[in-house]
Symmetry: C2
Subunit: 191 residues, 2 copies
DNA sequence: GTCTATATACAGATAGAC
DNA sequence: GTCTATCTGTATATAGAC
């Protein structure tokens, strides 16, 4: 692996673990086994390095769906599973981004706009599926699709955050997925 | 106000806004209009100051319930409202504590143990109410009380976190409370 | 209790050899 | 591209006057 990549990977790990301000370039240099000067040669400033790291981190973020042949409630459940998988597969970075948002350290940039956009896209999908089910009579019409989509997503986020914070003590995140589907998806069905 | 208190309040605000590492004692001294040396005279180290700040912050955290004369589902809804009120009233510190947990910056201390304890206490309450309702036949017996309590709490946390991150864009936190109660409490009732 | 002045360490960043 | 040596600022912390 070339030095530039080594720096990026090391910085990604340290930023995600300790945050931006709490990670020194001396530490990145030490862990990556290069000189500090080399970091500046490649990235010019610490902030540029940070942006490069974020860029690489977000790059694989995507949402591609294959919901063919499923009923609306099955589609919703599939989306819930996909979201859960996505977060667990990107645990460190999701956790990191969340902490950036919480501390208002998220720079206003295309990257963060893209993350929010992806999130909105996901919520929009949930909503459309519910509305589609209401049109063809498989989902109760009195439900407010936007609220229900927001609620499902909030519950999912809450489960994941709870997993971040209380690793072990509370019911595990995975164990709450089934009750989530039962309470927030199955109850939508028209019997 | 005496200088010590002034330092504590200033530090509390800065720590909560910028985090521990990102807040310098020079800045605390400047904002509190005292010398840096005075901070050290009162608190000896930066970390001690931090602990003192956390201590003062958590001190008013408590949970006192008055659920007399309410049905089980009404009790659950009341608890949801109380939790929501508690978090919104302590928005900055809750947000701060969450970011500490996310970054593994939470020192293992009585304070953090107390926060987790309070949280467990709340979840235990939800669970007991559900079990009580199952015993007297007002809540469906096939529900797993522990899971349902965890799910309600997760959904609540998710709603609040969503409020932290997306102030404005998504459905407001408050708007999701009613759907939450409808989906996770009212559906428990035996018709 | 509160201050000014200072010690010491380490941060981000640059200069210049190779 | 990569290094060593160094600059400059600022961090935590201390010494000692008042």
């Amino acid at each position: 692996m070339d030095a530039r990549t080594k720096i990026l990977e090391t910085a990604a790990r340290l930023f995600a673990t300790h945050g931006y301000e709490n990670t020194s370039l001396s530490q990145v240099a030490r862990d990556a086994a290069v000189s500090k000067a080399l970091i500046f040669w490649h990235f010019e400033t610490k902030e540029n390095l940070f942006r490069a790291v974020l860029s690489r981190t977000v790059e694989p973020y995507s949402l591609d769906l294959d919901l063919d042949g499923l009923s609306e409630t099955e589609q919703l459940k599939k989306l819930i599973d996909l979201y859960y998988e996505f977060v667990t597969e990107n645990l460190y970075s999701v956790r990191f981004f969340l902490s950036l948002f919480l501390r208002d350290e998220a720079p206003q940039s295309d990257l963060f706009a893209r993350i929010l956009e992806l999130y909105e896209l996901y919520r929009g999908q949930l909503r459309e599926i519910i509305e589609s089910g209401q049109k063809n009579g498989t989902i109760a019409p009195q439900i407010d699709a936007a609220s229900q989509a927001g609620l499902i997503l909030s519950a999912l986020n809450g489960i994941l955050v709870q997993g971040f914070v209380f690793a072990g003590s509370t019911p595990s995140a995975e164990a709450l997925l089934a009750p989530l589907k039962a309470a927030l998806v199955d109850t939508l069905k028209i019997q």
